[in-house]
Point group: C2
Chain length 310, copies 2
């Protein structure tokens, strides 16, 4: 099997295992310390957390962790925690007061399928559940490892990471202070993207190193790979918006340009962005070189992110 | 100084120290792992987290922890984490899609002072920050203690605790499934209240035992005290709604009855509720008896909660 086929195979397997795990974590059985699990709230959390998504973030956790021989079940737990954060962010981003989207992956968004109050609470519930999962013994037997994971996840997803990035995105759209959109400089675009989407992808790789109790040099390598994947993800997304086939992409293209949104493609042009993408993928390969052949599937993952047409 | 004056004194001191600590935690300096702290988001989080509230939950953490000689600075950190959860819940509960409140403690609610999108994100940011704070070395040097704190906080505040309780409250108001309010039975009211407000108060006491690495019997005593405080808090609140002076209470009274809301006062009557309140305070005293005189300020706290007229 070539690296690309192996990547698809491993991604599919992680997606399947993550689905099974989240299905269990979002069950109705009460855990120690819980008083009740209201049916409607649980149903909305399941709607938002199950049945969709490529589970690319859990894949990164599992594959980075496997470089250090981490138990796969533990890595899947950390991946499930991360996926709860990712899914809550989609629910809140889709709300009428935010991006006001009615559809997500072709299905009604949570506030459309339920209602706004339920969607807000389901997001809050998933966000909170992420830290519950990360703190469990099943995620790692060593409490020092678990608490490091909790802290890294909080930093990646809060004010200084993903939530902050969503704030910068709304600000760039001119949503505040009188409502004038402002074209960002390249550096500002990179910061916004590093926060909004990059932080969680980087955390996914970092989590592998935390679970594996990797050396500082190894963690540094994983973080450089994670940062490269985040940048590649974003440029590929921007390119899809310009060049993608709406039928394949499954959503309207040309939205960014219409919204006057500053993107790397807008700043560097299509050819410049593609050249940048090649450099980024090469950076990802260089970062993982010390891990040899065992990192091939991660490098195939970076290439997949860069080349994707959906 | 009598116990009641001592309680007021300690409560005020914890409030002051918590304010100072949260002011620092909500500063603009970046922490390791953070990329940026967008000014508007930070401002909204400060608006929601600073300058108001009695800080009764942090008081419970600090006083319960002090029974075991826990470093006050550590207990204040755990209290600050809990207060972030409490404050985020107020921001989200006030949103138009939820309780739709324009004022909170006489000030514009976060979505009025800023806007809905900013308020949603500020709530998400405070919720996430709580777990960042709980996971820091300054909260406790032992990672096993910190991760236990993280897990207990997640269980108290998520699907199986506070968020679930808010869901039950909205459901009881008839917000879903065609919109008919339903009068809850006593048992249902108690479950709703144990989740919506009780879980965090109970966690506050539990946190003291976790930080103090207390014995199972001691933790059990603290939890029984915490549960009693939660119940007293709620009945006192219900009584204020029926008997309170709107000028003193600072909000409209009689709202629960008008809304057809089932409360313990509605079920037991005013005299029955007052008798129940006395039993609950007595339970709180009995629970803390093993701690002797050092628990006097906590017992005064339970009495304050039961007798409060504001």
């Amino acid at each position: 099997m070539n690296a690309s086929a192996q990547f698809q195979d491993r991604l599919n397997q992680v997606a399947k295992d993550t689905e099974t795990l989240l299905d269990r974590l979002l069950g109705s059985a009460l855990l120690d310390g819980e008083i009740g699990r209201p049916a409607r709230l649980l149903e909305a959390m399941r709607y938002a957390g199950l049945g969709a998504g490529k589970r690319f973030r859990p894949f990164l956790v599992v594959e980075c962790a496997s470089l250090f021989g981490v138990d796969r079940e533990q890595a899947l737990m950390a991946g499930a925690a991360l996926e709860c954060i990712h899914c809550y962010s989609l629910v809140h981003d889709d709300l009428p007061a935010m991006d006001d989207d009615d559809l997500r992956r072709g299905q009604p968004t949570a506030h459309k399928a339920f209602d706004e109050a339920t969607a807000i609470l389901a997001g809050d519930g998933l966000l909170t559940l992420a830290f519950d999962i990360a703190s469990r013994t099943a995620t790692h037997p060593d409490p020092a490892v678990r608490v490091e994971l909790v802290q890294a996840l909080a930093r990646a997803s809060g004010l200084g990471g993903m939530v902050g990035g969503q704030m910068l995105d709304l600000a760039a759209e001119g949503r505040f202070d009188g409502g004038t959109a402002r074209r960002l400089q390249e550096k500002e675009v990179l910061t916004l993207q590093a926060m909004k989407t990059g932080a969680l992808l980087k955390f996914a790789c970092r989590a592998g190193g935390i679970l594996g109790q990797a050396s500082a040099a190894q963690r540094d390598a994983l973080e450089r790979y994670g940062a490269a994947v985040g940048q590649a993800f974003q440029i590929a997304d921007d390119l899809l918006d310009v060049e993608g086939d709406p039928a394949l992409v499954g959503k309207q293209t040309g939205k960014d340009a219409d919204a006057g949104k500053a993107t790397i493609v807008g700043i560097l042009g299509v050819d410049g962005a593609k050249a940048r993408l090649r450099t980024i993928v090469s950076n990802a390969e260089v970062a993982l070189a010390p891990f040899g052949k065992s990192a091939d599937v991660l490098i195939a993952g970076a290439k997949f992110v860069a080349d994707r047409n959906v």
